[in-house]
């Protein structure tokens, strides 16, 4: 299965779901889905790279940690990201997010993300590939 993403409904907020042939791809696609909560990823130029390192005791907490690390970088650097690379080493994740500073005119950002929650949190290998999902609080 080639990587792709989708949103799924949550009462007040938004679910983000990434699919991929590998777990790394599903994580990268979930991150792209999170960017799409804020703005159209196609408008975000992958100009500048930010390294992300995080770890957690299991895959699901690691997904939340990965997304929360990105939320932190988005908030403190005032950036949006549109290209992601993920590598796993046991409980650790080494990733890279590429993007640019928020441009209100071009990105028309709708909402800032407060954090990735553990609601509907799921990382699993389904028959046709990997899925990584959770709900983000906006």
């Amino acid at each position: 299965m080639s990587g792709h993403w989708e949103h799924f409904p949550h009462g007040a907020d938004v679910g983000v779901r990434g699919f991929g042939a590998s777990k790394a791809e599903a994580f990268a696609q979930a991150a792209l889905a999170m960017t799409a909560v804020v703005a159209d990823p196609a408008t975000v130029e992958p100009r500048e790279a930010v390294a992300i390192e995080c770890e957690a005791p299991d895959d699901e907490l690691l997904l939340a940690e990965w997304l929360n690390s990105l939320v932190y970088e988005m908030a403190t650097r005032k950036m949006l990201f549109s290209r992601f690379a993920v590598r796993f080493d046991g409980p650790r994740l080494s990733g890279e997010a590429r993007g640019e500073r928020v441009d209100l005119g071009r990105h028309a950002p709708a909402v800032e993300i407060k954090g990735a929650t553990y609601t509907a949190l799921r990382v699993a290998r389904d028959p046709d590939g990997w899925v990584a999902q959770t709900v983000v609080d906006v």
Partner: protein, 476 residues
């Protein structure tokens, strides 16, 4: 929600009897139509909360309850530290101390209409709002520590407001026992340039007109009369609170098993009140409450400066400032005795009744103001705490309308520009950096706040005092 799963105790009180791992009942306050519309997730989450150690009396859901994270939004639960009680980061939420502040203006509708566009533009340009916005204040390490300890009192001491403001803020504007050391560097870093910013999503600042007075006696004590103009600010503890929520959710989720707590849902992550993690979270959460109080105080200062330029005769004293995402230590009467409890309110407003010592003296005879935010096209409400609310739900009431439609669905249904034009045609000027944000927050994407307030009033949770409707709305 399937009504057959509930036992109707009275017209507006519905019980889920203890079953499975539940230690107490779950109780939902709602009308039959609100119950039927309520997400089944509220049932599951209210039941899950009832399984947590040390919970007292019941797990409660307010009339505006909807699917949250672990706890329902609109959830109230009190825990007793002497009975193994817990504190839960999920029971407070990511936007710690998100709340509503209401200011008088001394103005009438005609005063606003004469300068409505100028006022809307000035508020929009001078109050930082939306994604990526920053405030003019930069905090160094000492300044951050002072803010996290001092709250709105710190802001007033810096010249952003008056000492009289503090009398109208919960905890007199300063949450005691805050521990800035328990706040991560990341959380502090997120806040460094976000003081005095409104945020985004459902956060707003509105100039509103009192369009209906439901309880003239209490309204008079609150200083509200038909046609009066007030200003409401809805926002929280910004990036700092969000990061504290994130940090401690993870720590508690990992630590819960070591305390022998079996979580039916990881989002219910919690720790015993007297544990190391529990105590650190409480200290960090209180620091975030101070951050929210300071932030709303700085926003108030910015608003007053705008009014001083455009409507110089206006005075903007505070009616009240109340938070709806908190865990607070309170004394409550339970089974004939008084107990000190850790009351979690997640999307629920504290609503102390008449005579309560924590209600500001000039308002004490009628109860604490309860400020309920609606959507930008409908209205908001001012309620008052009741005596009976303590026995119903530890002196708590609803906090807003709740969404009726997902953001995704709202985006497919409306265009931001169309929403702005429609509201302008009704005399409501909306200003926002994001048209997509406006579409996601369209008035029809929310439930009917009037129905929620009517039920809160009828159930006795809080008394409906006045309805206000916007003339100007600044959205983040």
């Amino acid at each position: 929600m399937d009504i057959s799963l509930l036992k109707r105790r009275s017209e507006y009180e519905w019980e889920i009897a203890p079953h499975g791992a539940m230690r107490v009942s779950a109780v939902i306050y709602a009308s039959e139509p609100l119950i039927r519309d309520m997400d089944h997730k509220v049932y599951e989450q209210a039941v899950n909360v009832a399984t947590l150690p040390g919970i007292v009396k019941a797990s409660y859901a307010m009339p505006d309850a909807h699917w949250g994270y672990g706890f329902p939004i609109g959830g109230v639960a009190a825990f007793d530290p002497d009975a193994g009680g817990v504190v839960s980061a999920g029971g407070v939420g990511f936007d710690i101390s998100c709340g509503v502040r209401c200011l008088h203006t001394g103005l009438q509708r005609a005063d606003i209409l004469a300068v409505q566009k100028e006022l809307a533009d000035a508020l929009y340009h001078r109050i930082p709002a939306g994604v990526g916005s920053t405030g003019a204040i930069r905090l160094d390490a000492d300044g951050m520590e002072a803010m996290l300890t001092g709250g709105a009192k710190w802001a007033v001491e810096r010249g952003w407001g008056t000492p009289a403001d503090l009398d109208r803020i919960e905890e007199h504007g300063q949450m005691k026992q805050a521990k800035p050391d328990a706040v991560s560097q990341q959380a502090k870093r997120r806040q460094r340039d976000e003081m005095g910013t409104l945020g985004s999503g459902n956060h707003y600042l509105e100039v509103q007109e009192v369009t209906a007075v439901h309880d003239p006696k209490i309204a008079e004590v609150f200083g509200l009369a038909q046609g009066d103009i007030v200003l409401m600010i809805h926002c929280g503890s910004r990036g700092l609170g969000h990061q504290i929520g994130t940090d401690y959710l993870k720590r508690m989720a990992i630590a819960a098993a070591s305390y022998g707590i079996a979580l039916p849902d990881r989002e219910l992550a919690c720790a015993p009140i007297d544990s190391e993690v529990g105590e650190e979270y409480l200290g960090a959460m209180r620091a975030a409450i101070n951050c929210a109080l300071a932030n709303r105080q700085i926003l108030t200062h910015l608003v007053r400066k705008v009014f001083a330029d455009i409507l110089p005769r206006a005075r903007l004293p505070l009616l009240y400032d109340v938070s709806h995402n908190t865990c607070k230590v309170e004394e409550h009467r339970v089974d004939g005795g008084t107990r000190k409890l850790y009351v979690h309110r997640k999307g629920a407003t504290r609503a102390f009744g008449p005579g309560h010592p924590d209600v500001p003296e000039p308002l004490r005879a009628v109860g604490q103001p309860v400020l309920i935010g609606g959507s930008m096209g409908t209205g908001s409400y001012v309620l008052a705490g009741t005596r009976e609310s303590e026995a119903l739900a530890f002196s708590s009431a609803c906090h807003g309308a709740g969404r009726a439609m997902s953001r995704h669905q709202a985006l497919r249904t409306w265009k931001g520009r169309q929403v702005v034009d429609q509201l302008a045609a009704r005399g409501i000027l909306v200003r926002s950096p994001s048209m997509r944000g406006i579409a996601e927050e369209a008035p029809e994407a929310y439930k009917d706040v009037a129905a929620v307030v009517a039920v809160a009033d009828a159930a006795g949770l809080a008394r409906n005092v006045a309805r206000v409707e916007p003339l100007v709305c600044v959205k983040g």
